[in-house]
Amino acid sequence: MSTQIIGDVGLAEDLPGISRTGGQRRRGLLAGPGARKRPLRVWRLVVLAIAGVYFLLPLYAAFRFSLAYNGTGVSAQAYTSLTSQAGFGSAIWLSTQLALVTIVVELLLMVPTTVFIHLRLPRMKRVMDFVTALPLVIPPVVLILGVLDVAPARLKATPFLLALEYVVLAVPFSYRALDSGVRSIDLHTLVDASRSLGGDWLTTMRRVLLPNMRVAILSATVLTVALVLGEYTMASLDEYQTFPTWIVLFSSQNSHVSVAASLMALFLTWIVLIGISLIGGRSRRGQEKKARRLTLLRPGQPKRGVS
């Protein structure tokens, strides 16, 4: 092989015995001159450091404040006494219930809607983009006052009215997460393939679409949970003591505990996010493992035919 041919990156990959790993590709080992890599990396670190300071400094300040429980020294009492504070348990439980109901209603409403829009009404995508963005621009106060005006008394008597309001608030986030999920699969072909094999709509949705939209559904779920655990205005106007309203109310009694509760809520949300990421990663690893296992079950099979 001549040096000139190997020097060509595109051809080098095709030559026997020469292959580029993903790592090599990322590092640009075969990509020729890499003189501009170093300054680029420095700038990345600078930007990352600035962003890190911007986001972490307030958290650090809040953490330091929460540790100054008695006004002097360092104490974890704000955290250890958190669960024994009046109203904490019931507020957390109500928020958890609201999150669960909101997620269920949200997904039942938005998953079929998003699929239907892409499948049958693609011209409505722009309209949907606009309509689903409305909860972002309409103040929650306006929404809640309107809802309280028209909601039946029986519904107003339960906190689940709040869950229905959260469903509206979560629509902009869940729709966009699900929309990107639907865009990432060949929806029309998968649906046609399932139907041609005898799958009705329910089967197609359950066995084909939902498993392939899992990451999008998880994203929508995380965003909804984060919203429910952080929403204050509607809960306050509806006069329910959810976790965020409890934090605000309790801050007048003990601001250190209140800040500790806020940090705990943030920490819990992160835990949920990491958990969901791990579930996604484990599922992918599971696929690979299953593939290897099934392949190993048939040792010595020659590689035949077209490939």
Partner: protein
């Protein structure tokens, strides 16, 4: 279960018969008769199908061929139940299935884009249709594995679609479509996303399998090479209408319309004059004329459509043509000739003859065919269609 020959041996449908032949998990069928009758399909202002009528015999392999937008995929999707015709009938074994939803038509389909379910292994994909038919787990897996063996992918049973090549994915898709023992197999340009070598291998394998199973098959393609090499009959479509349906050889040798003549294979357009009803004079010869313009008044200018092999060349000084290029194509070579100093024609001659025709040499172009298709005079003579 099946005697397997190497992929390099799969050069002809006959050869592939042994590769994908032998015992099969899918029973050979008597085939299903399909009739498309006066199908019309209108999307907004676009008339995708305009009175399409085709009879497909049981066990026949029919290719729908035509340029993009001619309605061939629409016809297939109506047959599959994914689209509804504005008017007309779709008869499967004599019964109109227009009101039957796609999932109840029992038609296996292989799509142009890779349509395997990404969340399932190759085995699970093939078993999907069987699962929906409530076949027991053991039987389902055994049959799915047999089908994967049939398409020579048993060793990839546990792979997910993203771990398979394009050709392998389409073979799994074919196995999946066959697993449900469909009444009709529908192929929507299943080879168009594959590279040339795999495409040729797979089309031969599909054809061998279809012959063995005697399954009525409708194959949509815009590639005339695929259509002519695979199908029992080829239906050429244009603008939502059927131009001609005929066996490949007849379609090539006796095209009924100028569109078919120029769409299928390479065709030269030469100036001619009608010499009476059904007779035309071209390149100094008077031969039989056919086509819609063949019976015009004598003396009328027409275009005569002649294949490259319907012309002959002889080296004659000061004759009507000059050789402008010679392309070696094995036993035959294609010679580009500038006729009467301003018209390009292509002529196929045996390669030894072409070797004696250097570029720039003077040649006499003559007509070999005794029966030619004539068309309305376009005023220009040109080569209209390049081979794919």
């Amino acid at each position: 279960m099946t005697a397997i020959s190497g992929p390099n041996q799969m050069t002809t449908p006959a050869a592939t018969g042994s590769a994908w032949g032998g015992g099969s998990p899918v029973e050979a069928q008597g085939g299903t008769a399909v009739v498309l009758r006066d199908l019309c399909c209108i999307f907004g202002t676009v008339r995708a199908l305009d009175g399409l009528s085709i009879d497909i015999s049981p066990g026949e392999f029919l290719a729908l061929l035509g340029p993009s937008g001619c309605g061939k995929t629409t016809a297939l999707r109506i047959l599959a139940g994914f689209e509804s015709a504005s008017s007309g009938q779709v008869l499967v074994d004599g019964q109109d299935v227009q009101s039957v939803p796609a999932q109840k038509r029992n038609m296996g389909m292989v799509f142009q884009s890779y349509s395997l379910f990404p969340n399932m292994t190759a085995l699970e994909n093939v078993a999907f249709g069987l699962r929906l038919r409530k076949i027991g787990t053991a039987e389902r897996k055994a049959k799915a594995m047999s089908l994967l063996e049939m398409v020579e992918l048993a060793d990839r049973a546990g792979r997910y679609p993203h771990q398979l090549s394009g050709g392998q994915q389409q073979r799994v898709a074919l196995a999946r479509a066959l697993a449900i023992e469909p009444r009709v197999l529908l192929l929507d340009e299943p080879l168009s996303a594959l590279d040339a070598k795999v495409r040729v291998q797979l089309r031969e394998q599909i054809r061998a399998l279809q012959r063995r199973l005697s399954i009525t098959t409708v194959f949509v393609t815009h590639d005339q090479d695929e259509a002519l090499s695979m199908a029992d009959r080829v239906a050429v479509m244009r603008g939502g209408k059927l131009e001609q349906v005929a066996p490949p050889a007849e379609l090539y040798d006796e095209p009924q319309t100028p569109f078919v003549a120029e769409f299928v294979g390479t065709m030269n357009r030469l100036p001619g004059k009608l010499a009476g009803p059904g007779r035309v004079s071209v390149l100094g010869r008077e031969v039989v004329a056919r086509g819609p313009f063949a019976n015009g008044p004598g003396g009328q200018d027409v275009d005569v459509l002649v294949r490259p092999e319907g012309l002959a060349l002889a080296p004659v000084p000061g004759a009507n043509g000059i050789v402008s290029a010679v392309t070696f194509r094995g036993a035959q070579s294609r010679v580009d000739v500038l006729l009467w100093a301003d018209m390009a024609v292509k002529v196929d001659v045996p390669s030894p003859v072409a070797a004696s025709l250097p570029v720039g040499s003077s040649v006499e172009v003559s007509l070999v065919s005794d029966n030619v298709l004539v068309d309305q005079a376009a005023g220009q003579i040109s080569v209209n269609q390049e081979e794919t």
